[in-house]
């Protein structure tokens, strides 16, 4: 059972972490806002993007079959995995059959879900992260703290030290160009000698069997072009019906994520190397991962979670995420999208704290490019977490139900339905409330971070009557 409330104060009391996140989030919010300066254009584009994804979700089973048929016809081998363990063994099998000892990786959140690097390491296969941010956290033996910018929690000084400790011949330098050049040199040979490349997928087009990958660095293109074998990993929801659906998603994703109108590279892969072509992998595999997504699909309200295009705008704008950072959530997907996705994938019994780590301020809902009703789903999941039983929509529903909370609400409901009881109870509280000690069990949740409220001595009804109001 994870406990967000125990970890949050540690992050809140870390001034470096607070500064690193504040600086990054402020910059990202300003850059995004500049890209969507025209509210009418934003509304039209967003509506289109949201419906593109809503259509893809509504038609998910047919589109998956169409994607599989198209990819297969194009020469891409398609694999299905129900669990992350199954996906790992599919990847391992492909790599072992090819005799691969080293893989170079482009950024993939699905591979983080699978804990693929760790798994491959256990089977004697070295996985090297090539996205600069992922490379940095791999050197630091950490997990990503953001789904788009994995090392956003680190500042220049921390990275400089990490590089000085890990890259041969490089002294301590905070010069960003020098650090970037050092990473380029270190990774060039890894690319040239890798036996396989592994990548994620941003959008898979069912109509043509095309895998669309966006990136700025070129490491994604290298991972999918230079090694003789390419394995692409995707969640089963990352689909679009047609190629015409790609432009609105491409217009929304980088603008929402980093405030760029387009990424430096948009890589569209439709087949392995064809006869006569001089480069590109000889074999391309696509692994479709379910891992709880088909269960999310079973509930028409929760299903909207599957529209997500993983831009990260919800976390960039979240007052909670921007103060505690990604590691505090403890799961692969942090921030608002994580708070609704994780409990559904992992179960409320082990991630039930996540939907509660929110103020329901709606900032995420306002910026979500595909209009996922995140706040509504947070409330729904909170309800599910104390559901008295019978709900099968979410694994672990009811696991946060407690007798004292249930009893309190029953008492509350009874009081509000019976005027005499209500009058008696409020009068009693008004007179005796100030006698309750500040650290009494029922007060502690409130008073551990706030001052205990002072009771007025008389109820609101009594005070109103004194002012001359006859009727309530």
């Amino acid at each position: 059972m994870s406990d967000f409330t125990k970890r949050a104060p540690i992050a809140l009391n870390d001034p470096t972490l607070r500064r690193n996140f504040r600086r990054a989030m402020d910059g990202l919010m300003v850059k995004r806002a500049a890209q969507f300066a025209d509210p009418q254009a934003w509304a039209a584009l967003r509506e289109r993007g949201a419906m593109v994804k809503a259509r893809a979700v509504a038609r998910l089973p047919e589109l998956l079959e169409q994607l599989e048929a198209k990819c297969t016809a194009n020469g891409i081998q398609v694999h299905w995995a129900e669990s992350t363990a199954e996906a790992n063994s599919i990847v391992l099998d492909i790599l072992q059959k090819a005799g691969a000892k080293k893989v170079i990786k482009g950024k993939s959140m699905v591979s983080e879900e699978m804990e693929l690097n760790h798994f491959l390491d256990g089977h004697g296969i070295k996985a090297v992260e090539s996205d600069l941010g992922e490379y940095i956290i791999q050197l630091a033996h950490e997990a990503p703290s953001h789904i788009v910018m994995p090392c956003i929690h680190k500042n220049k000084g921390e990275i400089a030290q990490l590089f000085a400790d890990n890259i041969d011949g490089l002294g301590y330098t905070e010069d960003v160009d020098a650090l970037t050049a050092a990473a380029r040199r270190a990774l060039r040979d890894e690319f040239a000698t890798a036996d396989a490349g592994i990548s994620g997928v941003n959008v898979a087009v069912a109509e043509t069997g095309t895998l669309v990958l966006v990136e700025n660095e070129g490491n994604g293109r290298l991972s999918t072009t230079l090694p003789p074998l390419h394995i692409a990993l995707m969640g089963i929801e990352k689909l679009a019906e047609t190629l015409d659906d790609v432009p609105p998603l491409l217009a929304l994703l980088p603008r929402s994520a980093t405030g760029q109108p387009i990424t430096t590279y948009v890589n569209m892969i439709t087949s392995p190397r064809k006869p006569g072509e001089k480069d590109g992998p000889e074999a391309v595999h696509l692994v479709l991962l379910d891992s709880g997504r088909s269960r999310v699909y079973d509930d028409p309200e929760l299903r909207d979670t599957l529209r997500c295009i993983r831009c990260g705008a919800c976390m960039n704008h979240c007052p909670v995420y921007s103060r505690v950072g990604g590691h505090t959530y403890k799961f692969v997907y942090p921030g608002p999208i994580g708070k609704i996705l994780t409990p559904q994938l992992e179960g409320l019994d082990c991630a039930g704290d996540q939907p509660h780590a929110s103020t329901l301020c709606n900032a995420c809902v306002e910026v979500c490019p595909v209009k996922i009703p995140i706040a509504d789903l947070l409330v729904r999941l909170r309800t599910e977490s104390v559901h008295p039983g019978g709900s099968v929509a979410v694994k672990g529903a009811g696991s946060r139900r407690s007798w004292h909370e249930t009893l309190s609400w029953r008492g509350w409901a009874f009081m509000y339905a019976h005027p005499k009881v209500y009058g008696l109870a409020t009068r009693l509280m008004a007179r005796l409330g100030n006698l309750i000690p500040e650290n009494a069990p029922m007060m502690r949740q409130w008073t551990k971070i706030r001052t205990k409220p002072k009771f007025a001595g008389k109820t609101l009804h009594e005070l109103a009557r004194e002012k001359g109001f006859d009727h309530e």
Binding site: M51, L132, F191, L243, T264, Y265, K278, D279, D298
Partner: protein
């Protein structure tokens, strides 16, 4: 294993309650006056750290040779069987930076590609004015890595092939019926902002991008 997983995953998705697929609302990507289209393409791409040269069909190989000589670029890898590649060879003669043909498979040329050439030259299938984007359509004549491994990428684009936006280009060129092994949109040199949101160029792909726009 995969076959059983497939039928169980699809089975669960099919058993779930169906919802109607909503209609797609109207959306129009930006359009430009024909007179400003090329200007916009050039200024946006320049804003993304590319160097733009306006050239003519007759003079571009000579202009390129001069540009590279002035920069001190020692070698250019190119595709010998494209129209652009042939023009390079005939215009270059024995002078200018060394021309290195990409005429074998990557397995045979890997060392040259990774460490041995200073620039790569490619043609393009068009451009996009809205985002300042080049559209590359690699094939058996023009390989994928030419635009990716050398530290400088030089791209040739005809002004007449520049479209207003991506949706227009996809429809006009009939992409859905003809997707190649790999199509790539390029909007500047390789870059990253992973270290404190500070922009740095050339992290994995080319550090610099030169675009020749043929205006006649």
């Amino acid at each position: 294993m995969s076959e059983a997983a497939r039928s169980r995953i699809l089975g669960r998705l099919r058993a779930a309650p169906r919802t109607a697929a909503p209609a797609l609302p109207e959306w129009q990507a930006p359009i430009y006056d024909p007179a400003e289209r090329v200007e916009r393409f050039c200024s946006v791409l320049e804003g993304s750290h590319a160097e733009i040269y306006r050239v003519t069909l007759a003079d571009w190989p000579y202009r390129l040779r001069t540009i590279l000589e002035e920069r001190g670029t020692a070698s250019v890898m190119f595709a010998p069987n494209t129209e652009g590649g042939r023009r390079l060879v005939s215009a270059w003669g024995d002078i200018g930076p060394k021309l290195v043909p990409y005429d074998k498979t990557v397995e045979e040329l890997k060392d040259t590609l990774v460490h041995g050439v200073e620039s790569g030259f490619t043609t393009t299938r068009g451009g996009i004015a809205e985002t300042g984007t080049l559209v590359l359509w690699p094939d058996s004549d023009e390989p994928r890595l030419l635009s990716l491994l050398p530290p400088l990428h030089i791209a040739l684009v005809r002004a007449a092939d520049i479209a207003d936006n991506l949706p227009g280009l996809i429809r006009a060129q009939g992409w859905a019926q003809s997707m190649p092994t790999n199509a790539v949109l390029i909007s500047g040199p390789s870059k990253t902002a992973d270290i404190e949101q500070t922009l740095a160029y050339g992290v994995h792909g080319p550090k610099e991008l030169i675009v020749l726009v043929i205006e006649d």
